[in-house]
């Protein structure tokens, strides 16, 4: 798939993505490929174990914090290179 560039989120939203039908082998190939690329380009390590929250909002906030720490660590790593 070629690289596609957008000037805004609104422009991206107008350009609908490629949908496939459930059961289409190409869908599962695309999922495996997209997930593999994401893992290789942005490897994450989530703190192992069980984490409990009183609501999905509380869980979202905690996960956003972990993501922010991940991004900060990446920035530090890249600035040190």
């Amino acid at each position: 798939m070629p690289v596609r560039k957008f000037r805004s989120i609104e422009e991206m939203k107008r350009d609908h993505p490629i949908w496939r039908r459930p059961g289409d082998p190409l869908l599962y190939r695309a999922m495996a490929l997209v997930w593999e690329v994401a893992r290789r380009t942005n490897p994450r390590r989530f703190p192992p174990g069980v984490h409990k929250y009183r609501s999905i909002q509380e869980m979202d906030r905690a996960q956003a914090q972990v993501l922010a720490e991940h991004i900060a660590a990446l920035r530090r790593q890249r600035q040190g290179e």
């Binding site: 993505p17 997930w35 989530f46």
Partner: protein
């Protein structure tokens, strides 16, 4: 997310007879849009026995004593949202028994759809749209918009 690891988790949920349904980004993938994600979101029926089955399923995949910390007391009580991060730490499984006052397991429209050679339980596109459309995260609102266009869903 690793395609084969996820398949092992879903196969275990199926073989242990867990009453579950997938929502979130994996559901979007299964309805036809391949996009990156780092978590599996599952809603489970809020029953003691079902939570026991869930733990057995996770133990089938992961030899991890931490799984014992997932308890019915929590999921049916004060902690309806539990995040389980397997030992390798590459993705997480978010387990819900209710979503505020908006959704319980009984409220969800569930479909059986293929995941490679498995058949798994996923919320319908309409339910997924309803779950995503009012959230604060921009990516959820974009997902909701794509779902609405793809499945001709009405604005609520």
């Amino acid at each position: 997310m690793d395609f084969d690891v996820l398949k092992r988790v879903l196969a275990a949920l199926e073989s242990r007879g867990v009453k579950y349904t997938i929502f979130g980004a994996v559901a979007l993938n299964l309805h036809g849009l391949a996009r990156a994600t780092e978590d599996l979101d599952i809603f489970i029926a809020p029953e003691d026995l079902n939570i026991d089955r869930l733990k057995l399923a996770l133990r089938d995949v992961y030899d991890d004593p931490e799984i014992e910390h997932i308890t019915a007391g929590d999921l049916l009580g004060e902690y309806p949202a539990v995040e389980y991060n397997p030992p390798e730490g590459a993705f997480h499984i978010d387990i819900l028994t209710r979503l505020g006052d908006a959704f319980t397991f009984a409220d969800l429209e569930i479909e059986r759809v293929p995941y490679d050679d498995l058949i798994v339980s996923v919320v319908s596109p309409r339910t997924l749209y309803k779950m995503k459309k009012d959230t604060v995260r921009p990516k959820d609102r974009i997902d909701a918009d794509w779902l609405r266009h793809r499945f001709n869903l009405e604005h609520d």
